[in-house]
């Protein structure tokens, strides 16, 4: 900032818009991960039942890359969550006395519950890692047979339902998050914003449906 002391990077990142920018950039990265992860998972439908397992082996065959990606994702999630929590604390402090009556006209359910869907997704991610990555939460885990781990895992209805609920939450989070991140980074124009808002919901729904299809297919016996 013109003439002020202090480091411009930290000053920018600590501002309201800077923290939102961090959320937006990390949110975009997490979105990228979610898309790639979905494409990887959809290999479960390939006729070759070894495809998913081989993909798993491929990822694990390069420990440096694997751990680089894991640690980057962890850092991204931490920044995203830390910024979310800081922003949310400031937001609740900004209105100490609540309204008796409140009507919403534009704010949708997804937009108002980002700070709830976010932490729930995080909790799900922890469970998901214990379930399919380390196997601690899996009844019959075999690190060398990814395909079978998925089938056996989702044959438990409660587990399948947990995944479905979590993915509805993820889709909800993204349905607001995708257009929100564009707005935060300064992209808003009558030319494309209506399309962007529609695409945000459409892409989030497609991602949710893609993930949900897997436990549903296992429960229906389509995948076995």
């Amino acid at each position: 900032m013109g003439g002020s002391t202090g480091c411009w990077v930290s000053e920018t990142l600590r501002s309201s818009i800077g923290k939102k920018g961090l959320m937006a950039v990390t949110g975009l990265m997490l979105f990228g991960f979610v898309v790639i992860h979905l494409l990887g998972n959809l290999q479960v439908y390939l006729p070759d039942k070894q495809a998913l397992t081989q993909y798993g082996h491929l990822i694990k065959s390069k420990p440096a890359v694997l751990w680089g990606a894991r640690l980057s994702l962890l850092a991204i999630v931490l920044v995203h969550a830390a910024a979310a929590i800081l922003l949310a604390m400031e937001n609740s402090a900004a209105r100490p006395v609540k309204y008796h009556v409140r009507q919403w006209r534009e704010a949708g359910y997804a937009a108002r519950t980002m700070i709830i869907s976010g932490p729930l997704i995080l909790a799900y991610v922890v469970y998901h890692l214990l379930h399919f990555t380390t196997g601690h939460a899996h009844p019959d885990f075999n690190p060398d047979d990814v395909y079978r781990n998925v089938i056996v895992g989702f044959q438990n209805k409660a587990v399948a339902l947990t995944y479905i609920v979590a993915m509805v939450m993820l889709a909800t989070h993204l349905s607001h998050g995708l257009w929100s991140l564009c707005q935060t980074l300064g992209f808003n124009h009558p030319k494309y914003t209506p399309a962007l808002r529609f695409a945000s919901i459409a892409v989030a729904t497609a991602i949710g449906a893609g993930y949900i299809s897997i436990p549903v297919s296992v429960m229906l016996g389509i995948l076995k």
């Binding site: 900032m1 309201s16 937001n91 900004a94 808003n188 914003t193």
Partner: protein
């Protein structure tokens, strides 16, 4: 029309305050909302009670003084309408109406429905000066302004600083107000020289006042009596992030390269 009003009563900044109910048996659909409150207040004064304090000045939708959260919506249910321009025909006989002040830490309640909005003034003055010469009117074509830029700047300049955006925001954020003030100068060539410094100073003052952060819910846009859109917020985000990367502090002796 017969109405039941539930009004926030608070004697002063340090009073806890509470909702108090009043009957208004004789409102007419032609009255403006504030005239209806005038009628109530006259009756309260006759009874020796303290009248309800509310802000107003022009009563024609241009000054930005009025502002009441009516049934959970700043300035009430009609889009693009200030409280003073709202008429009782918008309501039905027998309605219960809740009246509350703007709620934000940065807008402390002075009394009843009146809040102190001087935080907005400080955000504006933090923006600093604009390089416009005073004196006689300049020759109209000396600084050409494209029609579309003039229109956009005028859209932003519609802001009357009423604070409904803050009141409507689930986070009590002042982004719509600040973005309108940043934009109406920043879009015009006259406002460009100081644009990068202006946006940074205004945003940091906005943050210092204790407003919340934008979560892009667009409630502000719906509440704005001047229909200022969140496009200006994106514009400010853009200008702010670019300014952080490109603005250079004034260097002593030279351009600082």
């Amino acid at each position: 029309m017969k109405l039941i009003l539930h009004i926030w009563r608070q004697r002063g900044p340090n009073d806890a305050g509470k909702m108090v109910s009043y009957d208004v048996p004789d409102a007419s659909p032609e009255m403006s909302f504030l005239e209806m409150l005038d009628v109530l207040n006259e009756r309260l004064i006759e009874k020796g009670e303290e009248p309800v304090a509310f802000d107003h000045d022009c009563r024609e939708g241009i000054c930005g003084m009025c502002g009441i959260v009516i049934n959970g919506i700043p300035h009430g249910p009609r889009p693009a309408t200030t409280t003073c321009q709202l008429h009782m025909r918008t309501f039905n006989d027998g309605d219960q109406i809740f009246l509350e002040p703007w709620r934000a830490k940065a807008f402390p309640v002075v009394r009843d429905l009146v809040v102190d909005r001087s935080a907005f003034d400080r955000v504006i003055s933090a923006g600093g000066f604009v390089s416009v010469n005073t004196g006689s009117a300049p020759e109209a074509n000396s600084v050409p302004v494209a029609k579309k830029d003039a229109d956009l700047a005028m859209d932003a300049a519609q802001c009357i600083g009423c604070g409904a955006c803050v009141a409507a925001c689930p986070n009590a954020s002042a982004m719509l107000f600040t973005s309108a003030k940043v934009s109406h100068l920043g879009i015009l060539p006259q406002g460009r020289p100081e644009a990068a410094t202006r946006v940074q100073k205004m945003v940091s003052q906005m943050d210092a006042e204790g407003f919340g952060n934008c979560t892009n819910t667009r409630e502000c846009e719906a509440a704005c009596p001047k229909s200022i859109g969140v496009e200006f917020i994106a514009r400010m985000n853009r200008e702010y992030l670019c300014a952080a990367l490109t603005d250079r502090p004034e260097a002593e002796g030279g351009g600082g390269v």
